[in-house]
């Protein structure tokens, strides 16, 4: 017998059906899962966009005007509209999952999941109003 084979004694051979690489196209719920996971790409894009914007402000009024013009170019505007929709989808799915991820106790009683979720939505609304006020209102 040759020594080239490595095998584990008594190890069963699992019956594994090969799953298609495109399994997530088979059902709407699978596709929704991939869309939700894919939202992270738009989160990353916004970090890049935010840093470009901050850098432009740092460089002076001309750079700032230029990035505002650049933001109005069709492809950037299109990308940002799609990104906005994905980021909102990300927010809704993340806050809806919050009661499962965050179990809060006060004393010995568990805070109901709906309250945990409502607190997240309230914080989201408050943060949005505050940011909008700081940027355009103040």
């Amino acid at each position: 017998m040759s020594d080239s084979h490595v095998y584990t004694p008594y190890h069963p051979r699992w019956l594994r059906r090969r799953v298609s690489t495109y399994w997530w196209l088979e059902k709407w719920s699978y596709f929704r899962f991939i869309l939700r996971e894919g939202s992270c790409l738009f989160v990353a894009w916004f970090v890049l966009y935010l840093l470009l914007l901050v850098n432009a402000v740092r460089q002076g009024p001309d750079s700032y005007t230029r990035i505002l013009e650049w933001s109005a170019e069709p492809w950037v505007l299109g990308l940002n509209v799609v990104s906005f929709l994905f980021v909102v989808f990300h927010a809704v799915t993340f806050f809806d999952a919050a009661p499962q991820a965050l179990v809060v106790h006060i004393g010995r009683t568990r805070v109901p999941g709906r309250l945990v979720m409502a607190a997240h939505y309230a914080a989201w609304a408050l943060a949005s109003v505050l940011i909008a006020w700081l940027i355009v209102g103040a």
Binding site: V19, T21, W24, I34, E37, G38, C40, L41, V43, A44, F46, V47, Y49, L50, L51, L53, V54, N55, V57, R58, G60, P61, Y64, T65, L68, S71, A72, V76, L77, N80, V81, S83, F84, V87, V88, H90, A91, F94, F95, A98, A101, H120, A123, W124, A127, S128, I131, A132, L134, I135, V136
Partner: protein, 117 residues
């Protein structure tokens, strides 16, 4: 001694980035990415932006948002490639690339925000 796994810490960064990006990004994107370019609302003046970014608190928040969101992306993107496209043999390479980008991006974010006068 029990070996410490990095997974819980990475998940914590993913989760923190998920919450922070969900709270702050929609309104920022709506304003700068959609409302200002379409002309629904007038964009703030350069002086106003300088005043906003001049506040250390703004910079701390934007740094936390950038760093945690990048780690959120890295973690989620890694697992999407792993589960979705089943790229399992490149696991180490993908992990090194995604978290590497997150680390480099955080350093760049810190540099840009710190350089504001």
């Amino acid at each position: 001694m029990i070996k410490q796994h990095p997974e819980p810490s990475l998940w914590l960064l993913f989760s923190a980035g998920g919450v922070l990006s969900a709270m702050l990004m929609p309104i920022l994107l709506l304003l700068f990415g959609v409302a200002f370019p379409f002309g629904w609302v007038a964009a703030p003046s350069h002086a106003h932006m300088v005043a906003l970014l001049g506040n250390p608190l703004t910079r701390v928040v934007l740094f936390a948002l950038s760093m945690l969101s990048l780690f959120h992306w890295a973690h989620r993107f890694r697992y999407t490639l792993y589960d979705g496209l089943q790229i399992k043999h490149l696991n180490e390479v993908i992990a090194a690339l995604t978290y590497g980008v997150a680390v480099v991006g955080s350093v760049v974010a810190g540099y840009i925000l710190w350089r504001i006068p």
